[in-house]
């Protein structure tokens, strides 16, 4: 091959499929991610952002600390997104989950779904957040205003 494509194949012999589920220790800037999340066949874009709120179960929350078993969380997250892609009539789905120390108002999770029509996009988005909460090994510790802390969910 003597074309530009041939050069590219030479430098990148292994074709890597882009990861759609990411664990990140950097702030999630929704507008920035959204700007690169587009598809000319899409008529619907559903975005869900999970934010850190200042209260939980009647207690005042100061901050949240997220951690993940990153290797498994990314693998399981990819599976959840693949399931959404297979079960719903959507074009694209993507998710980023934060780890680290988050303050009130910070974005903890960002989920985006593109579809030709809104119904499947809404449903897929709901499926991803619900399933993620259940299966992906990510945990959060609440730091309350009174100085106490607690891992969620509480000890069973």
């Amino acid at each position: 091959m003597h074309s530009a494509m041939g050069m590219k194949l030479f430098f990148y012999p292994q074709v890597q499929v882009a990861k759609l589920f990411k664990i990140s220790d950097q702030p999630i800037y929704s507008a920035e991610i959204r700007a690169h999340f587009e598809n000319p066949a899409a008529g619907a874009c559903v975005i869900f952002e999970g934010w850190v709120r200042n209260h939980d179960d009647g207690r005042e929350v100061w901050s949240l600390e997220y951690e993940a078993y990153s290797e498994l969380a990314e693998a399981e997250g990819e599976r959840v997104l693949a399931e959404a892609q297979a079960q719903f009539d959507i074009l694209e789905v993507k998710c980023i989950h934060r780890v680290g120390e988050l303050e009130i108002g910070d974005c903890a999770v960002w989920i985006g779904v593109l579809g030709a029509h809104r119904k499947a996009a809404f449903e897929a988005c709901q499926y991803v957040i619900d399933t993620l909460k259940e299966r992906v090994p990510i945990w959060k510790k609440e730091h309350f205003k009174d100085g106490s802390t607690e891992w969620l969910p509480g000890a069973g």
């Binding site: 999770v109 993620l132 909460k133 259940e134 992906v136 990510i138 945990w139 891992w151 969910p153």
Partner: protein
Amino acid sequence: MVGTIQIEGMALGEKSVTLRYFSILRDEAGCSEEVINTTVTTLKALYEEQRERHGWTLSLTHVKVAVNGGFGRMSDAFGDGDEIVFLPPSAGG
């Protein structure tokens, strides 16, 4: 002596595994990773053994497990050199 073969400090039937801890299990264990020797055979028994040692408050029924980076079952056996992670209930989002 018959029946007490020692290989690099390990008794017969003993396995050496790496345990990584997250979330409440790490806080209660006071470390994020350790290599331990054990004679138990199933992941369930290993959890109970380590639960007693570390005083973990999470009961077995609330915990899942991963072995060498993939989900496992608590009734599974494990092997020498495995990396095992007990997983408290997920709380992402």
